[in-house]
């Protein structure tokens, strides 16, 4: 009885959860590593981590890897993702010129280009969506017609 209680306690403790997350991140790390190896061996112009992403997606889809094995680790990394950007972001301390007029122009370029992207992609996809819906409606109509005929 006592032993079972201890096992149950261990299973639910935060230490076990922490270990599980570390183990799952190690699996994700292995995918990154394999992706990097593939990137170096074959002349594929895709970054290693993206190759890892595609490999993981294939493994999940073909049920080679159960979702449970990476779920908590992936959720953890994605939840704390902003923390991981900080060291790279701090690099701007080497560019004090950014806080000047040329910095303001660059900021403006970024904003205008983002709005353009948003309007073009949004309008295009909404147009395509309506077109596909219409086509589906037409198909439905024609099938109804053929049935009534």
């Amino acid at each position: 009885m006592k032993k079972e209680a201890v096992v149950l306690y261990l299973k639910n403790s935060s230490i076990m959860k922490g270990l599980q997350i570390i183990y799952q991140i190690a699996i994700l790390y292995a995918f990154t590593w394999i992706g990097n190896v593939i990137h170096h061996i074959f002349p594929i112009p895709i970054p290693g981590s993206i190759i890892g992403l595609i490999l993981l997606l294939i493994c999940l889809s073909l049920k080679i890897i159960p979702l449970k094995i990476i779920e908590n680790g992936a959720n953890f990394l994605l939840a704390y993702l902003p923390l991981l950007f900080i060291p790279a972001m701090i690099g701007i301390m080497n560019y004090p010129s950014l806080f000047s007029i040329s910095g303001a122009i660059l900021c403006l370029i970024g904003i205008v280009s983002t709005i353009v992207t948003m309007l073009v992609s949004g309008t295009a996809s909404q147009f395509l969506e309506k077109k596909t819906l219409k086509r589906k409606d037409n198909k439905k109509c024609s099938s109804h017609l053929s049935q009534s005929l």
């Binding site: 993206i50 990476i70 779920e71 991981l84 660059l106 309007l119 992609s121 996809s125």
Partner: protein
Amino acid sequence: MQQSLIAIIVILGTVVVYLAMAKIYARLPNPILIPVLTATTLIILLLLLTNISYDEYMIGGKWINSLLGPAVVALAYPLYKNRHILISYIYPIIVGVLIGLFSGMISGILIAKVFGINRDLILSIIPKSITTPVAIQIATDLGVEPSMTMVFVMIAGFSGVILGPLFLKWSRINSSIGRGIALGSASHALGTSKAFEYGELTASISSVSMTLCAVLGSIFGPIIAWAFHI
């Protein structure tokens, strides 16, 4: 020995500052107080005050950086979870994301060229609409400083969150697919967080668009840079 001590202090310090800033943001959810921004500003101020260089900070910072690879791989998880949405709207999503990707990169290059911006800066603008961990990777592949690209990634994210809803309304982009693809392919993760306010479907489409944009952007980014002779 001293190196590992510095590394531990840097890692712990960064985590503590980030968690504190995240707590403040949870109390006051204002876009200006987003934890990445406040934490970065605070750490830069601390480094400047204590006269520590970026290279010294990176003795510990590189360990945090090394988690970016697995974080990119982890993006497979939301993509897998939303695979039904991707499959049922495959045509508008793929075409919309490709159009978004190309218009984002090319408009950035052209506007920057009009202003006579130098080559390195134009290269750092190219991956601005792509989620940060992948944008860092693309910037490195293009041979530019990732921190510069990150500034543009942040600008793209914030202009999408703050100005996005206004422009979406004005241009009558009102379907879940239109809004999701617009926010996800222009403003990556920050846009996706905004998409949640339009509902679950918009957010899922935004998340799928963001991930597809990252995968396709890592392929097309260098090609576009090459095509425009940068």
